[in-house]
């Protein structure tokens, strides 16, 4: 056990910190009101990711031949920490950076890696995830979107749902059924679809937050070149799970929880009940500490996993809990903030009187969405029990 960073790593951290201080966009990007205007937001968000990339702060651990720097995971974690600390905006290309990219590095053909990875880094191509369908949510492997092989092409027909970012994505990584006769897990393929292909219709769905965050995507005889197949035909389920593993780690990431907790604590200190700060209410005070302890534990848990990664150890059951614990913790933090605000929690983020820059009403709802997305907490528990503890399958 040694938590010292090397002098080089410390110097790197300071470099990242000062770069962020000088280069971070000051408005129009994050949770401020101005940032919600979609039309100009996308261009700004892409430009920001590109600047980060050019400064050398995107996907540091990726191989050099695809635009990465082949650095050890510590450097990437330093960048992540500093981004959170500086409250830097979310990367618009996150699903490419965090989900498809690592999947392609393991499973993609050389041609696919050359073609797609560099543009993920620069935000030239934004990806969305075509997984869930109206009849295939938790039971993802029952998906029905059909891809028939006709000559050199797949012809895709069907529907995806809850597709975040499909309204502006350039590409989709998509699960399709290529063998309807095979058992459900063995007839699925993983393909890459250009969102501008004729036959694709994107219909926005309004989330409970009032935002158009996700979509329905319809495929009507959509033609996809066969070379866009990742791994082998009908062997897409294992690739899909690789992506899900990366997605769950991304969603359950501990970074961010610490900032949210600090924000919650500051809020609680600023609110008075019966003339005393809420932090002096003995019940609420205990609840705050309990949350802080969970946040801290996840921070240490992430450091442990970073070390395992450096040591070359394969992730075990400890990695299966990230999504479950991380997303529930974030929702619990927001729920505590809503309770702390008392009647002010009745206000939507659009009311001038909303507290704390109206951060919490949206966060409270959105964080519950993440408890569901990427596999609900119930599904995560099944995975932990069946894959981690080897309890017998119920299906």
């Amino acid at each position: 056990m040694d938590l010292q960073f090397t002098p080089e790593e410390e110097a790197f951290r300071l470099k990242v910190r000062s770069w962020l201080a000088e280069n971070m966009p000051t408005s129009g990007m994050s949770d401020d009101r101005e940032g919600r205007d979609d039309k100009t937001w996308l261009a700004r968000a892409k430009a920001w990711q590109r600047r980060l990339y050019e400064a050398g702060y995107i996907a540091l651990a990726w191989p050099k031949e695809y635009g990465g720097q082949a650095m050890d995971p510590v450097r990437q974690s330093i960048v992540n920490d500093e981004m959170v600390r500086a409250k830097a905006p979310y990367n618009v290309g996150a699903s490419g950076l965090g989900m498809l990219g690592p999947t392609l590095i393991s499973w993609g053909s050389e041609e696919q890696k050359q073609r797609y990875l560099p543009k993920i880094l620069t935000a030239e191509e934004i990806w969305c995830q075509g997984y869930s369908e109206p009849g295939a949510g938790s039971d993802l492997a029952s998906l029905k979107t059909r891809a028939e092989i006709v000559g050199d092409e797949f012809v895709v027909n069907g529907q995806k749902v809850w597709t975040s970012g499909a309204q502006y994505a350039d590409m989709m990584f998509c699960l399709v059924r290529t063998d309807p006769e095979a058992p459900k897990h063995r007839g699925i393929s993983y393909i890459l679809i250009d969102m501008r292909t004729p036959g694709i219709t994107v219909r926005p769905l309004v989330q409970m937050t009032g935002d158009r965050g996700f979509n329905e995507v319809f495929f009507d005889n959509v033609r996809v070149p066969r070379k866009n197949l990742v791994a082998k035909l009908n062997e897409g389920w294992i690739v899909a799970n690789a992506t899900l593993f990366h997605e769950r780690n991304m969603l359950g990431s501990a970074s961010g929880s610490e900032q949210r907790f600090n924000r919650l604590l500051a809020l609680a200190k600023s609110i008075t009940r019966g003339g005393r700060p809420l932090t002096e209410d003995s019940v609420f005070r205990q609840r705050l500490v309990e949350l802080e302890i969970r946040v801290e534990a996840m921070r240490f848990h992430a450091l442990r996993q970073l070390t395992d990664q450096i040591r070359g150890k394969n992730p075990g059951v400890e990695a299966m809990i990230n999504k479950l614990v991380g997303t529930e913790l974030n929702h619990d933090l927001a729920t505590a903030a809503m309770e702390a605000m008392g009647d002010y929690s009745m206000l939507s983020r659009d009311d001038e009187a909303a507290l704390d820059h109206a951060y919490w009403p949206y966060e409270w709802m959105f964080s519950l969405g993440l408890v569901i997305g990427g596999g609900t907490s119930h599904i995560q528990k099944n995975i932990i029990a069946e894959r981690g503890l080897k309890m017998p399958k119920s299906r």
Binding site: L303, I321, M391
Partner: protein
């Protein structure tokens, strides 16, 4: 940056697991539970030879000179095995009190025999309030002759019944707190065993009537440091106990059949088990850090020690509740071993400060 156990610590853990599964199976634990004193002397001779009893005692005084992270590894395995007897109280708490504060002479007098396995020490803090809060300590120390005389009624003192010496918290006329060391056989010391719920943990009342004692050191910082060490030790025992309870419940769920299939195939049981895993894994990392922070004197050592104690004791209680429930009726019997950990979780939760005591400590340290 390297956050995790070293190879040596991994080996220590594996060898402790192997040793205790051979020498301290539950049949052995139960045999000890049935004795009056609750102290398996042969096992303790054996662990002295392995170097456990002096693990954190400086080499100069006959110990191995290792730190709390190494000790946490052994304590976790002790918790996993529900190892009975005074190990935690003697080799961690009494040893730490002497290590942190005694004169060289007192260290040679008590620490060396402790490390060599010739003496058992314990700590006597709590009184009738049943609380570790410094304000609830009323025992007094008055100067007399070469040393001090202690008067007060200490309660819930672990293994005072078999101890050779007792580290006592008492106050002077100005109500400032200090730690003293008294010979358990000295005049003015009366020890009366209490009837315990957890029979792997024995506690006694220690009545002090002008008992002769020597001062180890004083002040709030020393008292706080002792709480930190205790918090980490109990948290480590709780980690191991939770792991064992989970393992037993999961194993049982794979063989017990109802509705024509193993009960472990039902989601109700899967989710209960998964929730224990989700609790345990981050808390394990937190415990490692708490022990490391103690060893390196990190600025947040006190805060994170309390965090680990609060969290792991909550997890242990909740985890053993669930593990008993997953067993159904058999888990409620005396014959089944599940209640060993169920009861030990309760002991750990209260000993050296409840989770809410430690959370309040975190709040104060964090300037809430």
């Amino acid at each position: 940056m390297d956050f995790g156990l070293s190879e040596e610590q991994q080996q220590l853990k594996e060898s402790a697991r192997a040793f205790l599964s051979g020498e301290c199976p539950t049949t052995f634990v139960r045999k000890t539970m049935a004795t009056g004193e609750g102290y398996p002397r042969e096992l303790y001779d054996h662990i002295a030879k392995l170097g456990w009893r002096g693990l954190i005692v400086p080499e100069k005084f006959g110990g191995a000179g290792l730190g709390m992270l190494d000790m946490a590894v052994i304590l976790e395995e002790g918790g996993y095995a529900a190892m009975p007897g005074p190990f935690l109280f003697s080799s961690v708490l009494a040893a730490s009190a002497l290590k942190l504060s005694g004169s060289e002479q007192l260290k040679a007098k008590w620490l060396t025999p402790l490390a060599e396995g010739k003496a058992i020490g314990t700590v006597a803090i709590v009184e009738s309030a049943g609380s570790i809060d410094q304000r609830d300590i009323n025992a007094t120390a008055t100067k007399g002759g070469a040393g001090f005389h202690l008067t007060g009624a200490k309660m819930f003192v672990p293994y005072a019944n078999v101890a050779d010496f007792v580290v006592v918290a008492a106050k002077n006329n100005a109500r400032e707190i200090s730690l003293f060391v008294a010979d358990a056989k000295a005049p003015g010391v009366t020890i009366r065993s209490l009837k315990n719920l957890d029979l792997t943990r024995r506690v006694s009342n220690v009545e002090l009537k002008g008992a002769p004692a020597e001062q180890l050191g004083g002040g709030d910082d020393l008292f706080a440091k002792l709480i930190d060490v205790a918090a980490i030790a109990v948290a480590a025992d709780s980690l191991g106990g939770t792991e064992r309870a989970l393992e037993m419940a999961v194993d049982y769920s794979k063989v017990r059949e109802q509705f024509g299939k193993p009960i472990g195939s039902f989601q109700a049981l899967k989710h209960a088990a998964a929730e224990i895993v989700a609790d345990v894994e981050p808390a394990r990392a937190m415990l490692w850090y708490a022990a490391y922070a103690q060893d390196t004197g990190a600025a947040d050592a006190e805060r994170v020690a309390s965090m680990a104690k609060a969290r792991l004791c909550d997890i242990y209680s909740r985890g053993t509740d669930r593990a008993v429930l997953m067993h159904g009726g058999i888990g409620f019997t005396w014959e089944h071993d599940m209640h060993l950990w169920f009861k030990r979780a309760r002991f750990n939760e209260s000993y050296f400060g409840s989770p809410s005591f430690h959370r309040e400590r975190v709040a104060v340290l964090g300037a809430y």
